[in-house]
Symmetry: D2
Subunit: 473 residues, 4 copies
């Protein structure tokens, strides 16, 4: 139950970052292409964003705090030079505080000359790598693991960016999709487990790489294919050349949460339509975890599709139970304690007419902390719902995630030590049912990758005992 | 087919204003109540907003360009004093250019001392009134008819605000819902035809007036009733006192477009649930104007409910055809001509998987200019739809509106001189059908008011020959 | 002892406003001319500023809080249209709080069509006029007397701006220099006592009016003449036409404080060079109020010239005693109490080497509250001055001013009830001497007007019993 | 002839940076102390500024583009934590473009943990050092040599900051004054030739280091002494400990331009009062390079003192010839070509009354390009000066500077290939005379350091053939 535009008041799971890159056959306003691409990826991060452009052996860039439209207003986009390669990034911090200096892409001068790096994901051995680099004379000006990635690539390079990337990736443990730009090459990288997504597209003679297919659509590019786990794709004047890391695991571990919640419904990931997965989740909930009720509804926006899947499978009519305020904005002033009870409904409001006296099934994609769920259940009851049955399109989250999702400790998870009955009690629902892990995998059966299900079953591609215990500061 | 966050690029019909007022039994942070109320009314205007507070026989206020969250960030809300009465306004200009000075409430010193006025609607005799006032020595610092309203109330007052309002209203022709604040009274006014909406609610000992019930919900207030056409409701230390204008017409003329498009789905207007009306529209479209197809879908967000109504009535499965980008924002930089073809899909994107090879019915609430409709039809076809049948939840708009909706000339209306077949051809649809006027009225049969249907049938509560031909400058 | 860039921390006397107008023979970027003119008048007001342009029977304008350079940055100046008439204003509030709506020029639509008014000065009968206008149905949206002036001109006009101005001026009591713009005329007005300054200049075929000659220099215009007290100068397609108010007093009452402090040293007012007056003041101080000392110095910037006059007349060497920080800025954060003692010298610093062990004469233009003087004396002593003798280029301020200078109550004036000896004691000086009133008049003997000396002798052109006791709110 | 607030339009020589550091015996609002210190150093750089605070083994900082008052308004200063050590920097770029990322202090995590570095000066071997570091795996995120300095200190450190500084300084060639902060030490460094200034002061139990004494005065600190060339002063819980670099040259090479132009008049540098040096320069000009004239004047603000020295020595009366507009500001919009001739006088204006018909001597501190000088001479002639004789308080600038002054190529220097007669002709003066090198040294005879006179005689402490030819990008 996520309200995407919130800063973190309730039950927010952070959204990861989004990356985008374009290699053009000619010098043109490539920054605009990145701008529209980042727009389409804005749901993946609203904290900061940036665009770097390569032109005439030089690079220029602009980064700022806020939405793409805010940061690049007032002539900032127009001020970027024309060029032939450009990359961009939207960020919601998992690691590193909210400093402008933590915004990406990171642009630097090193062994390969001017270089820019944008990163989506989360390394689990950042601290060790950084300590190693520091003992090797490096200095760190930010608190983001992306800076560590940039330094590693540079350190292991011999002047050739590909060498640096290949050798550095051998040291990285965790999730990472990278776009790396030099003054004549664009390189896209996907981690060996394929944890984070990355797609390749083409628009006329330009190549595009992006976190999701919706960004290809936004710039009129045709989808070519997903990057493979462990793939290092070099785009330059020779066209596309594909390399692979050594020792790519046979079994991939793509983050299933991308499909459950992160990705936009119109994206397709590794063959799996996000929309289809969500609808199927609703269907299975109806078939296996159904309950007698008058109406079924979904928490907007991400659970609406699933709720309709439930409705279709069960025959229980779909009715909107909640209306969402589209204009909450980033700088919403929280009500003080005295007023809080009265202002519950600013962001979301129950449709009293639709639910009064009704037995209601409400579908949500997932529950992390449970605080928003609790509020929603109460709101529905106050609007007259006779019964409120919660159905969740994923299993109980029982374990933290160290690979890019902002749920990092056990004690923040409502489901860490509770079963369904106990959770229902905490949030005040008449009943709650989750999908089983097998159910969830079934909803994503079109994916040609295997999944990481660590937050549900505690089995991570990288053993948690290897995971750094400390955050960078 | 409206994209609410656009400035006017495509097919935008302007959204009217929203007003809000609170009368508290004690001195407290009433500005916060207005703030949350305006948040809930933000869909009614995003251009500018303002809040005025009455305290200790004084008034303070703050107004700015932009969204409520933007304007009142950086300490502006906190800087407003505590008080016992406050009013607020969100605006999307129908009359008057985008100057800050045109923001409301208008706060002034006149015969009743400090006075503040906020207005939703559009007078049709502004020019005549203003000319009369100017010949009577008035000077006008803005280009909004709300300033004329304030001057009229003041002119006809004898030091008592009620007298001024009553006499001035006798001169007003057009649509107007007003909240008027003096240092000890809050007055809410609804025009004699009830063209624009206004509701009354209560929260503990506070009285609230607002354009829509969703704003009552947002501040935890209980709905009491709608204001009646021609009602002048005075709220002061004596509680509520209700007055009526002379010569209130027997037959009201409430704007049916509020239900079709403007209002938020969770609002209830004069007894009619907005949600129900929209769902019923879809149902009637299916029953009377159905077509053989594989799937039905709605243009997000306003036509989704109707599309599901269509689906339920027809048995044709509802499938999302379009995904909307929630982060377009106010300062979106339009692509230049060369790039336009490629970035068609930034704001809305077709879900290719869902529609490829399908015969598709797409539902929208209304069509004004037809430009967005044309884009959407093309987008759907490019995503593989075999047939695209458009169904509209209202009749053909054949006449301009002078009562608050931004469609003021015949030549901008795609339907002014075209029938369904011709419109289908222009927008590229395989077929298009609209509701008849009778159908539309049927969808709103729970309303206890009669409707203005001027934009459909040319019959206005105020004859168009009386309408001022000139805009204020 | 004034620090011009302060908001009011110490001994600040407010600075009045500055006005500027240009009438061009052709359509061109007249807003730029106003911009440079306002720059040169910036010392007369830093709170807000604005420019209005007349073009094709229309008017556009922009106003904002802050310095001319800040307000018109980011494309605001460029966004103003080309035109043939333009006026501008810089403001430091004497009346009216710091709201943007109080910024000038006031632009309105009235009997003469689009009209813009900018005002420098202060009426003493604002309250009465406003009450009269309110009873006559006017409403006031600001708290500045300039709005009253605009309403009065409009009220008494018969469609001709000149008529309105002439009749309204007959009602005004107080100080006022006006620039009034319609869509085809520029009118400059100087009050009948000539209290505030106004000059006329010419640049090629353009006529310029401005508060001071330094603004003529800034735009390359040649000085023609000062406006006469009671003059109403109309500039239009017929060229210059000069009218006069009825009953212009024989004896003018030009504010001598303009020469003492307000005006820029390079301006010439009614025949009197500001520079010469200040130098002469120093000379007389030396000749009549001299004291034995080692060095003489002036408080920068306004008293430096006088101090050199003192030095030349006395033979005592001039030495800089104080260095001023040129970068204090508008948003300087005041030290808290604990730190205050330690950061005494951020704005001004004593040159220890120059004064250590010396008997010092320090010259200042005037003393209002005395707080800054006290600080400076202490600073000089801490830097080692053996004796500190203060000499002031004007008489003791014994009475408030209601004509535009921000010293409005007796109890804020250090000199209201104190003689020189007592003042010396309060500020910690070894001695203090002021000019006599006769001395001051002698320094300005080149002026062809008589002076208002009200703040020194209590004799105002308008009896203080007629002065409104209340501020507008 | 410099106008300090200009961006570079005319004859601007850049101003170097300013640094400031405080070590407090207790945890308190040390950021405020830095704030007031930077205020006093604002004349040394207006492009960007920053403050870093050390507290509880952590560091926080804020940097921004613009003046100290602008950057730290809106709560930014208040948001910095309390702490016991803090450093700050004001910058005017000599190397590196105007990116925010180029602002200082540079804060990083390296071998000594959290470290912050602020630098005033210019290395001449930056390029070589950076190449060395890059081949050693470093990556550079900025284009400023201060980043190179930080990396060098880190590289040569063994975990102890003093070791790193000492070893790194052995590699640095050029000018550098550094303040370096760890979580428990403040280190101040002055280059071995003492090219840039640095002083030590004390305020209660706090130690202060700063570029100029005026910053000590601003925070109420007592001057203790100047740092010696080659000194590395460590301030920590053990108090002050002074170290020296190896091989400190016997003959220092302090930049004499600090005294001629950069420093504030109330500062004292290495025993030499800036004020005295400037006054003496005027005296020598009068005695050795005098000319018959009616009046003498100085270009404000920096040459006013010298002009009075000239006046005193020659007996020719000092008269203000130019008035300076104090409000030009950073965002001044340059007039277009057509308007330029008319707007010559916005920034400076001639006092016509004072100079009309007079033979005038005008004193300036130095001439770099000559463009402003030319404008001023013309302005004076247009104001009626009969003769204009220019006298300069320093020798002809014949060589570029690579040690921190922004005059880096021969062809931008008016004096590179011209003698006095030729220069007079170019700027339109009746005559021009400069001080000889010996004269200039004579004016600074109280300094206990030897001077770098490279821009006058081409003899630099570091041979120019060793100087990097390339700028960082």
């Amino acid at each position: 139950m996520f309200l995407r535009s919130e800063k973190a008041p309730f039950d927010s799971m952070h959204e990861e970052c989004g990356v985008f890159g374009v290699y053009s056959s000619e010098t043109r306003n490539v920054a605009y292409t990145v701008y529209y691409g980042l727009y389409a990826l804005q749901h993946r991060g609203q904290e900061s964003c940036g665009i770097a452009v390569s032109y005439n052996d030089k690079m220029d860039y602009y980064k700022g705090m806020g939405l793409v439209s805010e940061v690049f207003s007032s002539g900032k986009l127009e001020a970027l030079p024309e060029g032939d390669i450009a990359i961009g990034h939207v960020r919601y911090s998992t690691t590193g505080a909210s400093h402008l200096l933590n915004a990406q892409p990171i642009v630097f001068t090193g062994k390969c000359g001017k270089t820019a790096v944008a990163h989506n994901g989360n390394l689990v051995n950042t601290k060790s790598l950084r300590d190693e680099l520091i003992s090797d004379n490096a200095v760190f000006q930010t608190t983001i693991d992306s800076e560590v990635i940039a330094y590693m690539i540079n350190k292991y390079s011999d002047g050739d960016i590909l060498t640096g990337i290949k050798r550095a990736c051998a040291k990285f443990r965790g999730s990472y999709c990278l776009v790396v730009m030099t003054t004549n090459q664009l390189v896209a990288v996907r981690d060996p487990y394929g944890i984070r997504p990355m797609v390749l597209g083409k628009s006329l003679d330009d190549y595009i790489v992006a976190s999701e297919t919706c960004a290809l659509d936004a710039v009129g590019a045709t989808y070519i294919r997903d990057l493979k786990p462990g793939e290092i794709l070099v785009i330059d004047s020779n066209g596309l050349t594909s390399y692979f890391m050594d020792d790519v695991p046979k079994k991939s571990a793509s983050c299933i949460f991308e499909l459950v919640y992160f990705a936009r419904a119109d994206s397709v990931m590794d063959g799996q339509s996000v929309y289809d997965a969500r609808k199927m989740a609703g269907k299975i909930l109806a078939e296996k975890y159904g309950v007698e009720a008058d109406i079924v509804s979904g928490v907007p926006d991400s659970a609406v599709v699933a709720a309709r899947g439930y409705s279709e499978a069960s025959g229980i009519p779909y009715v909107e139970a909640l209306a969402k305020n589209r204009y909450v904005g980033r700088t919403f002033i929280q009500p003080d304690q005295a007023m809080r009870e009265n202002v519950l409904n600013v962001k979301m409001n129950a449709l009293r007419n639709n639910i009064q006296g009704k037995r209601l099934i409400i579908i949500d994609d997932s529950i992390v902390r449970g605080t928003t769920s609790k509020k929603i259940v109460r709101m529905l009851r106050e609007a007259g719902a006779k019964e409120v049955h919660v159905r969740i399109c994923s299993p109980i989250i029982k374990h933290p995630c160290h690979l890019g999702i902002d749920m990092q400790t056990y004690n923040q998870l409502i489901g860490a030590y509770r079963n369904e009955e106990q959770i229902a009690k905490v949030i005040g629902a008449d009943s709650i049912r989750y999908l089983s892990i097998e159910d969830l995998v079934e909803t994503c059966k079109c994916s040609n990758l295997d999944f990481c299900l660590g937050c549900f079953n505690g089995q991570y591609p990288y053993p948690s005992e290897e995971t750094d215990k400390y955050k960078l500061e």
